[in-house]
Symmetry: C2
Subunit: 264 residues, 2 copies
């Protein structure tokens, strides 16, 4: 979580990405600024996907949606250019990964709609600020994520299981984490489950479907939050002719601050 | 939880108690009005006890404290008379129960200070209103309560273990219950623990220290709240020359409403 002086704001990180100076992950950069998941789809699928997000807002909290062809998210970073301002992208055709460029200008089309989706980095910062330890950050690994037996509310081409992230917490910390993350509905909000992983279809907590395994100690409960991997996995399963997402960990830095997303 | 027409308000219940028409428990009477635990101590112990309550506010949330010799709780029921308006009392000398009268006029002294302490009836009503089932209410028994291995913050003569009440909940309901009860800090607030009962010194969940055992199903977690029995057990252990409490379940009905205690 070291931070070089040039990354004081979200705009600083975007500028470095645009200039090709930053091509890796963004965790901990421009601390206090909201980071977002990116998903780009052709206009003819966009409305269906937007409705899917509305129906599954805990997994797919929409921070901003662009006009077709516009690369500027007007609400959260009006001066940004989504074609250049992320460190690295993934380009998918018919559900197959075809490229991982640092710039998507060559793939841009006037019918593309960009979705900016809340990310758990915001609530993790709030947990750390409250003195609640976050195991995968302590261990320097990716958060463990699991496909559950809970189906998202389907909409047209978009359907699939809810994916959750897991953080092991002592019971009193789990209670405080519910209180804290409830204040951040646009970055997944409160946990959806805790304890009893088998009740949501997780048979082995040490075998996550995505990310890295972390230890759950005998005085801890696994606490599960709806995860931003859900919309990505749902998009891949729908096999759209073209989709563009951020590369894992290489998020979009916004101009809004974590504190702006906290409800009263 | 049936309600006769004469018990529409807290004042109705107090009048019936005063007139000797109500001598039993108050659960479900004048629904929507806050019920309170009562503890009365001589003035020379009152300050020490009040500070104990402040230091342990989750277990001992003070709704009101009277002036010495006054039997009217000015904040929560200014027209009430605490000597006559509860259905039944318990009188203790040196920690020994000596009487269970329906009126304490004969025991009254000008140096007595009354403490009105929040009660979980208020948050249970909020849980039920949110569609969260409360097992001991479903089963028509008293809530199970346990002495924990967590010590209250001691103050002078007053010290002892935190007593907790337990309600078994499905994980998603437990998360919602944290959110709901967090809004009621003056009636014990959020749970203090969930899952893993042995970590707070509870070796057999089916053997409560007070109240009745209830089933914890395999898709449920035991959820623990600080309990109003804590101040009672602490007072008894301090063996004051005189103490008067409500008789179990025979609470004081206030003029304030459950909704008035909810924070934003």
């Amino acid at each position: 979580m070291t931070q070089t002086p040039q990354f004081q704001t979200g705009a600083d990180v975007r500028r470095a990405a645009r200039q090709g100076e930053l091509t890796g992950q963004t965790s901990g950069l421009a601390a206090g600024f909201v980071q977002a998941n990116l998903a780009i789809l052709p206009r003819d699928l966009a409305e269906e996907f937007q409705q899917f997000c509305r129906l599954n807002s805990q997994a797919c909290p929409l921070l901003d949606v662009t006009q077709p062809g516009s690369a500027a998210p007007e609400t959260i970073a009006p001066t940004a250019d989504l074609r250049t301002d992320l460190p690295r992208y993934r380009v998918w055709r018919d559900g197959e990964l075809i490229d991982e460029p640092t710039d998507i200008t060559d793939y841009w089309r006037e019918d593309l709609v960009s979705f900016l989706i809340g990310c758990s980095f915001t609530f993790e910062a709030a947990l750390l600020n409250a003195g609640i330890p976050v195991r995968h950050i302590e261990q320097g690994v990716n958060v463990p994520m699991y496909r559950t037996n809970i189906d998202c509310v389907p909409n047209g081409s978009f359907h699939g299981p809810l994916v959750v992230s897991m953080r092991p917490l002592k019971p009193a910390d789990a209670i405080a984490a519910v209180q804290i993350t409830s204040k951040y509905p646009t970055v997944h909000g409160a946990p959806i489950h805790l304890g009893l992983p088998d009740k949501i279809g997780i048979t082995d907590i040490l075998q996550p479907d995505y990310g890295d395994a972390v230890e759950v100690r005998d005085d801890e409960l696994p606490v599960f939050w709806a995860c931003g991997v859900t919309p990505q996995s749902v998009i891949m399963a729908a096999k759209p002719p073209l989709a563009i997402t951020h590369s894992p960990g290489c998020m979009f830095l916004t101009d809004i601050r974590d504190v702006d997303l906290a409800t009263a």
